[in-house]
Symmetry: D2
Subunit: 130 residues, 4 copies
Amino acid sequence: MLKKTITPRISETNITQHIGHNAIPVWLEEGYTEIFKMFNQNLAEPCLVTVNLNMDFLNELFFGKDVEIVTYVKKIGTSSFVLHQEVNQDGKLCVRGSTTLVHFDYSIHKPVPIPRQVCDLLRNHLLVSS
Amino acid sequence: MLKKTITPRISETNITQHIGHNAIPVWLEEGYTEIFKMFNQNLAEPCLVTVNLNMDFLNELFFGKDVEIVTYVKKIGTSSFVLHQEVNQDGKLCVRGSTTLVHFDYSIHKPVPIPRQVCDLLRNHLLVSS
Amino acid sequence: MLKKTITPRISETNITQHIGHNAIPVWLEEGYTEIFKMFNQNLAEPCLVTVNLNMDFLNELFFGKDVEIVTYVKKIGTSSFVLHQEVNQDGKLCVRGSTTLVHFDYSIHKPVPIPRQVCDLLRNHLLVSS
Amino acid sequence: MLKKTITPRISETNITQHIGHNAIPVWLEEGYTEIFKMFNQNLAEPCLVTVNLNMDFLNELFFGKDVEIVTYVKKIGTSSFVLHQEVNQDGKLCVRGSTTLVHFDYSIHKPVPIPRQVCDLLRNHLLVSS
């Protein structure tokens, strides 16, 4: 499990006085920057492509209180993997997100297998269903 | 079916030289502003809450060419409805989005039924499966 | 002097692999949220209007290292005041910002004097030239 | 003079029900994308650095009406130039912006002279004071 604290920004507070849903993908991505680094320390050479993002907005989020994002690995395939994320504020689960990422080689413009040592790192964060 | 043309912005082009997936929810929302107006001409009195957003990223999007977003109503419930959206650039389907919105009364903080005349307007944009 | 730490977001890293200048006004605003609260604890009743923003971009900012923003009050007028801000990363001054804000009554749509007790609070953060 | 029409986005409407000042640098940049192309057709090889941005916010901007941005070249130096921009909505001048850009060679990390043929192109858009 990865943990990340996000401070909502006043600019993310919209006309309805809560955090707009458009801000959430940015936060979720912050939640898994550690996973980018497992693949490549150099963020200037990206190698992950987002192919699906699903978000359930369960409770409103507000400016003024920090938000905690927890990230688990839900599934690991040959060249893709799925992340499960939960965004909490003030003890309430506010957003549940699921992101599917593909390991991608931009030079040949094709998916490539996830290296075994990266799989091992990902496995450390596997969501274990009880 | 609603149609909207979006011009990608240079600021939406990210480190990988294509449009970041974070920009897409903003575009999808632009695609259905007409639906906000069906509920309330005054955008300062919002009455719709996004409860789910699902996006499939099928092809890369680039700066430099306009994007066309088509929006259909997929399903109408008592107080909620589901939109189906397609983002096309250069003749390619790049993103498929599904958004679930709830008609919400902020004064009582509860979902309320979609008024009949709004249902009629929504029905004009129903996705008809062939 | 007000201090605020900002963690740059991966989505703020642009095509040139550093933080785009478009992200900076958002950060500067985060730097002075305490000043909003001096005027009104309820951020849903805004009463400050930005009338000028000037930014000198002195050094590149990067993803991966926290940024520190210091905010001083440079000048206090009858209904307006000027903030001076410095954005530092890794011991380097990267941006120097100057923001002019006006105390504004949205109900009459006019500038109004800054209350005396707010002036006193602002004065605690005055930039003292040596 | 360059002209560009921008459609304000609902996500750019903030808590005060007008367009937040944070959105403006993004719009101004859209106003001068043609100038990027004078230097380099390939936006993936950026060669311009923003060193100063000054904005006067004269009138509120709202969602729901298109905005027109006009861009002039105010001054051309050896390796830098200054743009003057005006953002109009509904016949009102809402923002006046001034941007200083430097022609920059990222490989040597230094400013370099603006090529003569680019100077000629820039001169076509010079602001002529009457």
